[in-house]
Each structure stands twice: as structure tokens, then as C-alpha cells.
Amino acid sequence: MRIVIAEDSVILRDGLVGLLTDRGHEVVSAVSDGESLRRDVARHLPDVCVVDIRMPPSFTDEGLRAALAIRRAQPDVGVLVFSQYVETRYAAELLAGSAKGVGYLLKDRVADVREFVDSLTRVASGGTALDPEVVSQLLGASRRTAALSTLTPREREVLEHMAEGLSNAGIAAVLTITDRAVEKHIANVFIKLALPPSENDNRRVLAVLRYLDS
């Protein structure tokens, strides 16, 4: 993958460049603010960019603004937003309209190198990667408690992984069950929550998130 990184902490930026290079990817540019990020994304048209939310000069949501601008201007570039805190509001802004090629992860996730690189790859190829923390916040705040309480523990896990953006195969791998079992659980979840069936993973993420948030 060709990657652009925007992260103002030198330690983390160098660490990320080292890690991704080591895993065989090409970091075409590593910058420390939103302005440079947008410029370099437009110039290099990478597969994906990794964006820290809090960057100079405002140190508030610079990165998120840049990420949203990139989603509008270069819809084919995957955007993985990367932060030390997750805010459901930011997730909602990022996923407004489409869940294609977008990710929102806690910085801690980088500790599990393989999963992190998997998420990044998924975002680069047009998929979704939503932090489990965001999903559990959404589940916790959801008013659909009655319908959600009808799910079995396994079905609930499947729902969470769907919301995180995992494919059926991905869910099967994480839960170490067969694809067939995953399909069965998903069918049950859709019936119990009265969601319209959806083949596309991205649409499925949006459908689940909208359901939880409504």
C-alpha cells in the first residue's frame, strides 16, 4: 500500500513509519498538520492516509476536518482517523453518507500490529474499520434495548464485529467459527432487529450504526 501519515507527535510518526515500512508498505509522506496532509494526499493520491485528529495549529479537531475534506475531494483515498480518544460524534461525522474507505481507531490499536495493518488494508480497499470502543459506546447509548436484549451473546458479538466493519470471513476468523455459522448468526440478527438484508459490507455497517443510533 502507498500511505500518507499525518501525526504531530514525532515519536508516534516515526514509529508508524517504521512499523508500516517494516510490514512492507510504502509511506510516501509523513506530515504533522492538516494543511500539509491535504496537499500531499492531492499530490500523491495514496491508497490510504492515517490521520491524527488533534494537530496544530488549533489542537482540536484539525485532523477530522482534513479527513472530511479528503473524503469529499478524493473519495478513492481511504481515510483512517487515529486518535487517543474516541468520540461518537466524530464517528458520526466521518460516516455521514457513506462508510466506504473510512476508519476510526484508537491509537492503542496499533499495539496489535497485525489487526491494525488488517484494518488499514481494509480501509485502503474501500472497507470500514470502526473501533470496538465506538461500537460499544453506540451500543451503550442505544435506545433499542428491547430488541437488542433478544440477541444471544454470540449474536451480539457478531453484531459488534459487523459494526466494526469486519467481513463475514473476518468475523469467522476472530470468533474462530465457520463462515456458515457466521451467516446463520447474521441472518438471525437481521431478523430479530428487523433490518433489511444487505450484501455489501459497507452498507451493512451503516445500516447497523443507523439502527443503533436511532
Binding site: 515519536i11 517504521g18 517494516d22 496499533v110 499495539a111 500490529v113
Partner: protein, 444 residues
Amino acid sequence: MTDLWHAGSAMTATPRLPGVLAPFARRRTWNELLYSLAGLPAGIACFVFSVVTLSVGGALVVVFVGLPIIAISGSTARQLGAGFRRSSQTLTGVAVPAPPPLHPRPGLFGWIGSSLLDVTAWRAQLYLILKLPLGITSFGVAVTFYATGVGGVSYPIWRPFLPCQNGRDGQCHVGASLGPYYFLDTPFRIGLGVVIGVLVLLAAPWAVRSALKLDHWAVRALLGATQSQLRVEQLTRTRTTAIDDSAATLRRIERDLHDGAQARMVSVAMTIGLAREKLAEGADPAEASRLLDTAHTSAKEAVGELRDLARGIHPPVLDTGLASALQTLAAHSAVPVELHTTIAGRQDPAIETMAYFCVAELLANVAKHSEATQAWINAGTAGPWLRVAVSDDGRGGARTAPGSGLAGLADRVATVDGTLTVDSPPGGPTTVSIDVPLTSGRSA
């Protein structure tokens, strides 16, 4: 005496006149005369206003419209009082702190209630009523002195126009009489009249000013902010400082954590994660070992940063008392510090913390700005006060300009009713002292 006239005079360029005539060249003299003369009509109007509105309002309380009338009267009295306070300041130079504005409760009834209970309004009503005798006094004194003075000085001019009066000697006298048969009609007596006129006229500005003292007293007592209002204002101000200060501190701590230890720990986790990945893939153990070394170094740095941060929030050495905490500060200072302390035992923790951080910042200032080669800390208690002074032999010129570090310190010290004093002539030496009450208001 001349200095008194200079004090508070609005005049910038004073025409040169002989000493005794100098008051007449000053605008303030004429302003005071104007204020005194206007005092009578103003006093009559205000007296009538207050007495009529309050008695009408009072009489109508039983049919309820009375209360709104009294409320409107109070609110008007408040405005009039503010007007008198301002004109007294502009014309006669009496500076009185303004009372706080009224914050009425919402709604018409809220407004009426607040207005009825408005202490400032009732004090203003009292002034408006007192303004009548005050105005009569100031008007009377002013008219008497100036009329007598001007009349005396101009006596030779208007004397010939007086009617003829028969004296004891049965003769016709053209002149003013002092007593029944003492006529001012000889050249000597005419001269005497002029001299008296001159003396009275010269005394007039002083007389007017003295008579206004009563009005000044009433303005101060009734139209200014009360002690408790001033205290509330000060507490409100210092409370805001304290809240802003603690919010800024929390923000700084969050930033320090976010940019420092938190980022380092993420990097440690990332590096260890990568090393684990390498080992799982069966890569060269030396490479994994190199990654672990990096993570190890980062982790130690993070621990150091966390320790510094924790010490910045609350230095553990403070738990053993201010004296030993100051010792640690002195030992860590970039400029050599001599510490002299007579603090015995423990003080209020809030006061100790305040003093500690002030000294820490003052020592940092010494190191940063003063070019000093030696600094001194003197700390001790005097009665209910703790005084800590930080001195240096640097280049001086330190100032509590708004927005400066010292002004920030002064604000912080004010939150516990303390004061910060800066003595720093250009060229040095500099001494910054903080005085804080030992009780911190907890038991006060």
C-alpha cells in the same frame, strides 16, 4: 495650601496669578461653585420626588399599585444617585467606587421585588432626601460669601446710588450701614468695606469647599459601594481567577499527558507489538531484541515524564512542610539560592501549596530574566500572615504589567486574600514579596 488646590485639579495649564488669587484661576473652584448653586434646585426637586413617590407609594400599598410605584421610585433614585455620584466626581473630584448594577430577577414581579430590596436604591433615596438640607447649606454658603465679597469689592461703585439715610447725628448718609448708626460713607470706611469684601471674596472658594465637605460625606456614605459590596466584587473577581486558573492547569496537564507519556506509551505498545510479530514470524531474534531495547528506553522516558508531571501537580515534598519544600526548590534552582526561613510547623495546605508554586515561579523568573548571580528566599510568619520574599541581585525592572507572569501570580495570590509586592528599580536589586493570611479564609 497651594498643594491642596493642585490635588485633583482638572486644570492642566494654570494662568500665573499671585498665590492668594490662584484659586480663581482653577476650573475646580468654579465647578464647585456651580455644584453648590445647583445643589439648591436639585435638592428641592429630589426631596419632592422622594417624599412624594414614597408617600404616595406607601399610601397605596394596600391596593397593591403602591409597591410598583415604590419600585419605580427606587429604580429612578438609583439612576439619580448615580448621576449625583458622577457629577460630584466630575465637578468636585470626589472619587467614590460605583455600587454594583442591579441584577433583577426575571419577570415583572421579579423586577419589582428586586427593586424593592435594592439596598443601593434605598441608600440613594436617603441621599435624595438629605440633598435638600445639603443643597440649602452649600447654596447658602456660596451665595453669602460670593455676594458679600463681590458686593464689598464693588462697594465704591454702587455706594453713590444708595438712598440717603438719617444717622444719629441727623445728617444724611449715603452708604451701607454696619449696625444702626455706623455708615460706610467716609473714605476710610469705604476702604474698610472694600477690604472686607476682598477678604470675604478670597475666602469664598475655601468656604464653598468646606461646605461641600458635608455633601462629600453623604455621597461617600450613601452613593458609593458599601464595604460588603466591594468585598463581594473582589471575591467574584478572584473566584473567576481561581476557576480560570484551575481550568488552565487541567488543560495543561491533559496536553502534557497527551503529548508526552500517553504518546510514549502508545509507541512502546507499538514497538513491543512489532517485536512480538517478528518473533511469531520466526524472524531474527536480534531484530526483536533491538525493538525491545527501543521500547524499554521509551517506557523509562514515559515513567520519568509521568513523575515530573505528578510532581508538577503536587510536589510530594510539600507533605513534609513548606520549609523543607522551599529547601528542595532552592537546591534545584539554576541560580544559587540562600534560604532563610523561620516557618515552624505546618500551615494550611492550600497556603503552603500557594506559597510553594509562587516561589517556584519567582525562582524560574530569576533564572530566566534577571541575569542574577545570587538569589535569596526569606520566609516567615508574622502574626496571622505568611510572608515569603524572593530577592536577587539581577538587573531589576520587574513589573506587574497586565498579562505578565507577575500579574498572574498577583491574581492567584489574591484568591486567598494575599498580596504580591514588587520592588525592582532598574539596575536591581529585585525583591518580590507575597503575603498571605495563614488561615486562607477557611476559619476566617
